[in-house]
Chain length 234, copies 2
Amino acid sequence: MKTGGRLYGIGVGPGDPELLTLKALRLLQSAPVIAYQSATDRESIARKIVSQYLPGNQIEVLYHLPRALEPEKAKSIYDQEVEPIADHLASGRDVVVLCEGDPFFYGSFMYIFTRLSDKYQTEVVPGISSLMACPVSLGVPFTYYNDILTVLPATLPTEMLITHLLATDAAAIMKLGRHFTKVRDILHQLGIASRAKYIERATTTQQRILPLDEVNPEEVPYFSMIVIPTKQKL
Amino acid sequence: MKTGGRLYGIGVGPGDPELLTLKALRLLQSAPVIAYQSATDRESIARKIVSQYLPGNQIEVLYHLPRALEPEKAKSIYDQEVEPIADHLASGRDVVVLCEGDPFFYGSFMYIFTRLSDKYQTEVVPGISSLMACPVSLGVPFTYYNDILTVLPATLPTEMLITHLLATDAAAIMKLGRHFTKVRDILHQLGIASRAKYIERATTTQQRILPLDEVNPEEVPYFSMIVIPTKQKL
């Protein structure tokens, strides 16, 4: 039997605090400890999303993971970063880990889950992913009927991106950052640039939607996406 | 300028009423008219999910769409089915359309959106999709780092399913129903059956998780999914 505190991984959605689920809100407010990730020099985005709901008497645990880290390097860093969370659980305190978007969809919570869920009772609450939020914010029906959808990291080599884009009905291209120009050029080459929609920081107060060719490649943030919706007419 | 009532399409999530977002709940309770889909002989799943939140004084509009309809046939049926919704909007009444999962992700709301959003002010609220809910209910981290994810309808031809499954890191196979046996055999053929997880009616009180080879192909419901999570170790 598992003893100690309970571990919760809750998706807090893409940015709009109202896109939290009722379940995430309930758990968020019921635990004595909350934990969240932040780049070392910035405010935690996940904490900012839920800040208005925090009761104010919780212990807060910050963990750090530099972005775009190779998986092998990430492993050893996470081994260290989960320790304060594990200590609270061992002491019998429930810990709610905040996750931007959805915890199991490219989420950093998965590193915590794989390290602690064998030992502690664990519950995960799905969240609104940017994959759903971006098409909605863009106002474009995304996939329907028998469409194939492919989610592609922009970090992939050009040939691989082309192969997948040719084989799919709809696509989302994530992790654009410094790979934006490569992706934009591929979309033009394949003749699908006019269908492609660019959005950054969807559902936040800083949300921006721009025509693909008006995006400044030097200013593409991590939280951006190109959505290629179904070409089927409904 | 658009006049008349406002049209809302709100995702109500996969089944657990607590997976509604705060925004969906607010809009749901604020409109004089709600609309939802149902197979002609069954209770509406979307309405059932939110039933405990309904204030009890709303006009309810039911629309029908037989499942697995060819897009061309669906078009003419939807032309008719949106009429009662359009009438309420024309009369100045806001209408909230309930959508299982997410409205723009294989959702029937898209048919309503394409017909009415040009004429009436429209707002869409993303919902928790089964794509996020199923891996969470299965307890399997789904995609991470630079994974490619492909969402495949089981209705695709065998060769096409094989090509896509070989080219992706993680996959979700939807619309299983009578195509289950074909998909299961492909997964064995490709040697990935042991990674594949089967779930039906995720997050509802009827949720079932079964080993792939213990699923009775005669009893696979529409609301089922096979999840093939990343094989990367975190």
